[in-house]
Symmetry: C2
Subunit: 215 residues, 2 copies
């Protein structure tokens, strides 16, 4: 049974706008709406059983987040990520990941290391690509989070969200290489080697981009 405190906090803190925002974000992440697709305010509002006002507010927020694009009097469209933009996204993501890796190597403790080892083990055991993909996302997010820089985490998440709009080429290429890189990162972190941790994080992201594009 649900704890009352959660529903209390829900009612206290969440607005329709926020819920709609999260729902649209979920649809984007789940691939239920594609880049270039148009969002109909009325359709969304009836589907979620709210009026257009919170829908519009949510849309403005996601527009600012770079996930939607507005054409006045014509509607809002899910942003398309070109190959060039994807390259830029990954370039920045590599840089942010390097920062996170360096920060994490400086402050990591036994507890953090144990958690990361568990996550990497789960990735080693992951059967299908979809599961691997989700666990991998969670691992990277957690590493940035453990780096301790909240601003960096915010930026990183924004990048990841935008990357979801990119329809990659291949999905399943090079899982084994990815796994090896994870272990190499763990080793650097365990050794507290700041330079190595940063560099391996960067290279892991860059390699991930090459694997996704099939280059």
């Amino acid at each position: 049974m649900e704890r009352p405190a959660d529903t209390f906090d829900m009612l206290r803190n969440r607005t329709m706008t926020g819920l709609v925002r999260d729902e649209i974000l979920r649809m984007i992440k789940a691939g239920e709406v594609r880049g270039g697709e148009r969002l109909n305010e009325l359709a969304l509002s009836t589907a979620l059983r709210v009026s257009r006002a919170p829908v519009r507010e949510a849309i403005r927020a996601l527009e600012e987040a770079g996930l939607l694009r507005q054409e006045k009097n014509r509607g809002v469209f899910v942003r398309e990520v070109t190959l060039e933009e994807a390259a830029e996204l990954y370039e920045v993501r590599a840089g942010l990941s390097e920062m996170a890796g360096r920060a994490l190597a400086r402050r990591i403790d036994a507890g953090m290391l144990a958690e990361l080892r568990d996550r990497v083990s789960a990735l080693d055991a992951a059967a299908d690509v979809t599961a691997y993909y989700q666990l991998n996302l969670a691992l990277h997010d957690r590493m940035v989070e453990l780096g301790g820089n909240v601003i960096l985490l915010e930026m990183y998440r924004r990048l990841v969200d935008r990357t979801h709009l990119w329809r990659r080429g291949s999905f399943d290429a090079g899982l084994e290489a990815s796994r090896r890189e994870h272990h190499a990162i763990l080793d650097a972190l365990a050794a507290g080697d700041v330079d190595a941790a940063g560099m391996r994080m960067r290279e892991h992201v860059e390699a991930g981009y090459r694997r996704a594009t099939g280059q």
Copy 2:
């Protein structure tokens, strides 16, 4: 006299929401509203002679940008940037600047270099601190822009906007050091030295943070 085409495009592309968003952003940048201050929707809407709807949409956007913070049923507040957050902002900014410096060193041409030299000269000649501050902001923004990575530019601007919410300690400390660093960056860019350009950009931002905090 204003060119008609501009007003045409204005009417075609701009919505009230967008204008309100820009105006609130301007107020924040100009320091007309301070961190922690509360924004009254009705006051804003009457001042700008629009209804509350576009004001609320603009607020949601700036909330997503990390400049405002919402407390349900109580209002929106201008975000406060703690000293710790400022340190994080500058850390990320230093990293992004390094990326931009490296990218720029790779692609810079004679025209870009000439423009940057002009800007640095203007900074050398700047009389008061306020003028220096504005020109300096513009120089850095332009260098990131010339780096050619649009995503990086977006992130950088977001960081700069948030930094505006930080009430710095000292303002005028170390202008001469800042000027010297600009020239050192130009030298590295002119030489096409990727590593040096990146490193000097990073160190310039880090030094700027130390100067602002008076450490």
